[in-house]
Amino acid sequence: MLPDLLAVGVPWAVASIVLPLAVALAAIALGPHARHLVLPGALLGAVIALAAAAQVLAHGAWHHAVGGWLPPLGIRLRLDGLAASFLVATAVVACGVAGFSRRLFEPSARRETRAGFAFWPLFFVMWAGLNAVFLGADLFNLYVALELLTLTAVAMVALDGKAETLAAAIRYLLFALLGSLAYLLGVALLYARYGALDLGLLRAAAVPDAITLAAGAIMTAGLMAKTAIFPLHGWLPPAHAGAPTPASAMLSALVVKASFYLIARLWFDVLPAAATVETSQLFGALGAGAIVFGSLLALRQEQLKLVIAYSTVAQLGYLFLMFPLTGSAAAPQPWAAAAWTGGMFHALAHAPAKAAMFLAAGLMIKACGDGRLAPLAGIGRDLPIACFAFGLAAVSLMGLPPSGGFTAKYLLLTAALASGQWWWALAILAGGLLAAAYLFRVLNRFLIAPAEAAPRVAVARRDQAIALALAGVSILLGLASLVPYQLLQIGRPAAAVGGLS
């Protein structure tokens, strides 16, 4: 029975887009009654994502021509191992956030509240947008999906309605829109050059001429602005730190990955021939810069959520190290597969860890009534589960074993040393140490015995447990990394060649 369901007869990939959209529309229509839909919707979304992954594992990559129209006329959806992995990561984080937010945005006295109304449509559309980005195989369709993310993300940042978050949201919006427009300009050029928008068709047709390279460069620059890679990171910390906690989790864990995902698709899938040694080293330099500067800035923050947000800036840097380590079709590196898989693994492992960290931080701030680090002293006694979750997530972010972060780091390091690019290995290791430095700065606070017991607002154990569960997932990813690894290999771009051993 199960294999039948996993076969192409049930388009799980399509369902992963349709379901969250349907829930979002229902949430707009139903207002305060929508909260009964939230958990079933989220869980069903998770089931769909897992089924999609299982389908890929069982039957390989899956393509679907939407409306029955093949490219170049129509739009294709592509569910390969990479897409499936991101679907699952998204579903895991989204389920956690949904469970966490359910009571946060509960209507008061059966009356709809502003944030309560807005959050759920934004949340589910964001989820659908993420899935659409991961599944999209058409450049312009991806643009629309990206804008879906931009709008939901910006609105979420501003959900608190405070002046600082409004400014942060505007800054974010400016960056994101500029990035989208740059991307769109590249799409226009590519379409004018090749008459196709489908990734597969473009790969078949693309030659590394001036227009193609310029289009790729413009698109990449735009996407980098949206990914907040150093030195375009300025908008991220205030936005992610200012957003309501569940939004912070979604943004930091997932949304920034979407544009990164597109960069990776672009360079590995569409224009592998265009990647030169210089460009990939430049990407690596940006990544290393992000790691070092992001970490150093994280070390200087006095607000808990800002520490975590700057940590995102730093962690995004690792993702860009996969470009020099993978090399290109023109200049392939040994162990490219390890580098590519390591980079993607990092993106996947970072998601639940960062979400857990933000959720835990949100609870701590709620308990303290203060967003600074200092009042956290001794909170380990009051919120042990949240603190433990924070610690576990920190383990993954530092890349310490056993965690998904470690697996990623191991793969990236291996590729760096095997290809003789030891300087990236040093950046990776330095990043781990710096992460330890800024995270233990927080963890220390948990264990300090305060001079006098500070008053704390009570926090539900269930909410803490959600953070713990997400952190647990990021740890588990390090112990049970074989299946995700295999999943990632299905449909791996040809540019990322070379075996692990």
Partner: protein
Amino acid sequence: MSPILYAATGAVLVGIGVFGLLARTHLLRRILAFNVIGSGIFLAFGGLGSRGPGSGVDPVPQAIVITGIVVALAATALAVTLVTRLFEETGAVTLPGEHPAEGPDAS
């Protein structure tokens, strides 16, 4: 020839819009500049789509541009609302840390 002319105009509009974005700090002006960039890209898209032999226009860029226009409007609506709310909360029409409205170039 003409379609290429419009495409080139689109490219110039992108430049003008980017200048507006960089040189202006008033947020509504930046939103305006965004729309100039956007419609410049659309025009380039359409102009490039009308090149070549044969009659008629490529409908795919047209459809894409219509979608793009609607998306741009959606983004503009959100942006404009954010800016008015920021003004109501703080009285500022620029981002914090950027020059407040002073001098002709900052308006």
